[in-house]
């Protein structure tokens, strides 16, 4: 170290620093206070409002909001009149077809499938919803999966006469929907899939961070059995 450097070190020792305040009590007090989860509340409220707005935007449904269920990233709204919605075939309107690997890469969803099932393609809707078409008991069914980033991203409008029941899949919450309903999807980045009319029965359930949806002409027992095996 040269002379100037030594003089600078000496200068440091001669500096009149203000006395160090006692920081620990304030730091610990701030850490004991739990931050209020404004963000989580904000997202939930915003998505619920979007869901309500969507339901009420349909003239026939304006006075007919009858019930409201949440399950992970899905919201089920019972209305007395379903909105006008397009009907679709099993693969139409599901999104963009890609390989399973590509679907997982695009959405970040680690796809859960029943044992022995390895469909050649998956469909990606928006930025987060992946759907595969499977055969169960000889019938085509659609299995959709997405990360639960908030309630209301996937929305089901169900008719008054439809049956909505609570159920369990491997101990996790589930909803069984039987009867006419429409499916609508709000993606993370403003993506919106307009309502599509569906006729099959639907089982919605949770698995970790994923919300899963099985749709097709299955009985409740068949759907629950398939869901149990989807790991």
């Amino acid at each position: 170290m040269n002379e100037l450097e030594l003089r600078l070190e000496e200068l440091g020792r001669e500096l009149a620093f203000p006395p160090t305040p006692e920081l620990a009590p304030a730091v610990i007090e701030r850490l004991r206070r739990k931050p209020f989860a404004w963000r989580r509340v904000g997202v939930a409220v915003a998505l619920a409002l979007v869901a309500l707005a969507a339901a009420f935007a349909v003239p026939q449904a304006r006075t007919a909001l009858l019930d409201f269920f949440h399950l992970g990233g899905a919201t089920v709204i019972r209305v007395d009149t379903l909105p006008r919605a397009t009907e679709r075939s099993h693969a139409a309107g599901l999104g963009f077809p890609v390989t399973l690997q590509e679907a997982q890469r695009r959405t970040g969803v680690r796809l859960l499938l029943p044992p022995g099932e390895r469909p050649s393609r998956a469909y990606v809707l928006g930025d987060a919803l992946v759907t595969v078409v499977l055969k169960a008991d000889g019938k085509p069914v659609r299995l959709s999966e997405f990360g639960s980033f908030g309630p209301g991203s996937l929305q089901k409008l169900v008719a008054q006469e439809a049956n909505v029941e609570a159920a369990r899949v491997n101990g996790a919450q589930a909803l069984w929907i039987q009867g006419p309903h429409a499916f609508e999807y709000f993606g993370r980045n403003g993506f919106h899939r307009a309502p599509v009319r569906e006729h099959g029965n639907v089982l919605l359930w949770l698995n970790g961070d994923l919300t899963l949806r099985l749709e097709g002409p299955l009985t409740k027992a068949q759907a629950l059995e398939l869901a149990r095996r989807t790991q």
Partner: protein, 186 residues
């Protein structure tokens, strides 16, 4: 049986598990240097206190990202220094650095003559003014490395720059200081 005090790695592990008493011990251990670092970088005591406090709160919340086995002090200094620099950008003016009573005699020192003490005091004052006039990036490097006595690695961490950049900034700053002092006859 008497409990042995935990080493810093043990305290960090406990804090990582949510033990605020362990974090309090860490804050008390490092608050002096953290505050002085923040003071030199932010330029005033109020901003320094706020920066140091915010730094310790943010560091606790970021403990999950702290690499096990790494040294805690440079990591803490980096967070606190970052808070301090952010405040300096919005600060209206920097408080002028001051020297302790220049004629204070430390135990064991020979008592200087009044003339020698006055000369030494004037030289320190001139050096301090020269440091204050350096461009911010060079002044910060000098402040961390010499005035605070940080290592080069700690200076790099505190300033968020590479060790090589610390060396080059110090080299430029020392050259400029020499020039200024020679012009002033110090």
């Amino acid at each position: 049986m008497v409990d042995r005090p935990l080493d810093e790695a043990g305290l960090v592990e406990r804090a990582r598990g949510g033990d605020l008493d362990a974090w309090e011990t860490i804050v008390r251990t490092h608050q002096g240097l953290a505050f002085r670092t923040a003071y030199l970088l932010a330029g005033n005591a109020a901003d320094a206190e706020e920066a140091a406090q915010d730094g310790f709160v943010k560091a606790y919340r970021a403990l999950g990202h702290f690499r096990r086995g790494a040294e805690l002090r440079p990591w803490l200094l980096r967070i606190v220094a970052n808070e301090a620099r952010n405040r300096r950008r919005s600060a209206v003016r920097r408080e002028r650095l001051a020297l302790r009573a220049a004629l204070e005699v430390r135990p064991g020192d020979a008592v200087p003559s009044p003339e020698a003490a006055l000369l030494a005091g004037e030289q320190r004052e001139r050096l301090l003014v020269a440091v204050e006039r350096l461009p911010d990036d060079q002044r910060d490097a000098i402040a961390c490395r010499y005035l605070l006595g940080l290592t080069e690695a700690e200076t790099a961490a505190a300033l968020g720059i590479r060790a090589g950049t610390v060396k080059s900034r110090l080299s430029r700053a020392l050259a400029r200081l020499r020039e200024t002092l020679e012009e002033g006859g110090a």
